[in-house]
Amino acid sequence: MKILVVDDETDIKDLFLQKFRKEIRGGAMEFNFATTGEEALTLLKGYDPESVLILSDINMPGMTGIELLRKIREKHPVSPPEVMMITAYGDDANRSAAMSLGANDFLTKPLDFNELKTKLLK
C-alpha cells in the first residue's frame, strides 16, 4: 500500500517512519512525504491513483488541504485516490468543507496512531 503524507511539519516523516517501521520493513506499506500541496500533486503524477492513499493536513501555508483535495477530485473524476484529511480539534468548518468535497475519512489531531493503523490496514 502506497501512502502519501502531506504535512508542512517535516518531523511527521520521522514519526511515521518509526511508528510504521515494522510494516515498512515487511513491505506492507510504503510511505512518501510532501510538505506542500503542490509537491503532493507533482508526486501523484508518478502513482496509479487507485493504489495510493493520501493523508493530508488541512492547515498548510500556500495550497491548503481543502484546495489539494479539490484539485485531486478535479483531476480524477473517475476512480479517484482515497483521501484522508487530518483536521485540527474543533475545526468544524473545514471538516464539513472536506466532507462536501468527498473526503473518504477524517482524523483529528492529536493523531491516534493505533486508530490510524487500523484504518490503514483496512
Binding site: 514519526l15 518509526q18 511508528k19 485540527a88 480539534y89 489531531k109 492529536p110 496512531f113
Partner: protein, 447 residues
Amino acid sequence: MLNFFICLFSLSVIRKNLDTTRYFWNNTDVLKVLQLFVVPGLLAADVLLKEGSVQFIGDAGWFIVLSYIIYILYQERDQLLAGSLLKAGLPYYIFYVVIFIIQYALPSLYKTHEDTISLINTLPIVWLFAFGLSAKNQINNLRREKEQKEKVIHENEALEHLVRERTNEILQQKNQLEETLEELKQTQNQLIQQEKLASLGELTAGIAHEIQNPLNFVNNFSEVSTELLDELRQELSATSIPENSADIIEDLVQNLSKISYHGKRASGIVKNMLEHSRASTGERQLVDVNALAEEYIKLSFHGLRAKDKSFNSDFKVVPDPSLPAIEAIPQDLGRVLLNLCNNAFYAVNKKAAENIPGYKPLVSITTENLPREEAVKITVSDNGGGISEELKNKIFQPFFTTKPTGQGTGLGLSLSYDIVTKGHGGELMVESVEGKSTVFSIILPVR
C-alpha cells in the same frame, strides 16, 4: 322708630363687614345679643311705654346702644367702612345726647323749643342718610373687591397647581431620560468589553492551535520512543547485556511515559481552551452536566495555577449519577461554570493569603437531579471570604467587580446571569455567609 332702624342697620353692617375681635374683648357675641334682643326690646318699649319715667328707660337704652356702636366704630376707625359709618353717625349721636340731656335735665326749655329742636335734629339725620348711602356704596365696592381678590387667589392656586403638575411631569421625563442615558452608556461599555473579550478569545484560540501541534509531536515521539525501547530490549534479550544498561533502558522507558503523561495533560488543557474559545454556535444539544462540571473546574484550576504558581486549592465534583442529559448550549454553560469556579478559587485564594491556622481552601461543584421540576441543580460552593449583604445585590450588575483594577472586567457574573436566565430559561442565585462561604446555585430546565 328711627333709632331702631339706625341701630339695626349699623349692627348688621358691623357684624357682616367689620373685624371686631381686635380690641379689648371679642365683641361678636355682644353685637349679636344687641341686634337680636336688645334693639327689638327697645323698639317694643318705645311703642308700648310712651310716658314719664318709663319713657326715660327706653331713651336711656337707645343712648347706651348708640354709645356702644359709636365706641366700636371709633375703635375700628382705621377700617375704611368703620371710618365712614363713624362720620355718618357721630353728628346724629352727638345731637341725640344733647337733646336727651336737654329733654330730661331742662324739660321746660325742651318744651318751649321743641319745634326748633326737631327742625335742627333733621340736619344730622339728613347727614346720616347721605353718608349712610356712601357707606353702602363702599360696602358694595368692598364686596366686589373681596370677590375679585378671592377670584384672583383661586386662579393663582389653580395656576400654581398646574405649574406643579407640569414641573413634576418634566422632572419625571428628565429622570427617565437620565436612566435611559445611563443604560445606553452601560450597554456601550458592555459592547466594548465584549468586543475585547471576543478578540481575546480569538487570540487564545490561535495560541492554543499553535501549542497543540508541537505538543502532539512531544506525545507521539515519546510514545514511539517507548515502543522503540521495548523493541531494543527484546532484541538485546537474546544477548547478555550489562545490568546497568538494562536499568538505564528501564529509566528511559519510565521517563518517556512521564513525558507522555504530562504532554497529554497539557494537550487536555489546550483542548479545553479551544473548546472554551470556540464561538458559541447558540445551538442547543444534549449536555452531560456532570462531565461539563468536571471539565471546567479543572480548566479553571489549571488556568489560575498557570497564572500564579503560589495558587493552590483543593477541589472536587460531587456528581449526581441520576442526572439526565439536558438540552443546553455547552460553550455558554461552560463559560458560566468557568466564571463561577474562577470566582470561587479567587475567594479561597484571597482567604488563604490571610494565613488563618487550619484553613483549607476548597471549591466544589455538586449536581442534583430535580425530577419533579424537570430540572437540574448545579451548585458551585467555596469556603472563601463570602459576600456581604450589601454587595449581594450588586454582583450581577455589569462592571461590578471587587477585584483590583485590571484583574476583573466585572462582566463575568452579569454575562453568566444572562446566559442562565435569558439563554437557558433557568435561575442563578447566590447565598453567602460573610467570612465563611458562598454558594452559587444554577437551576436549569432539562429541556
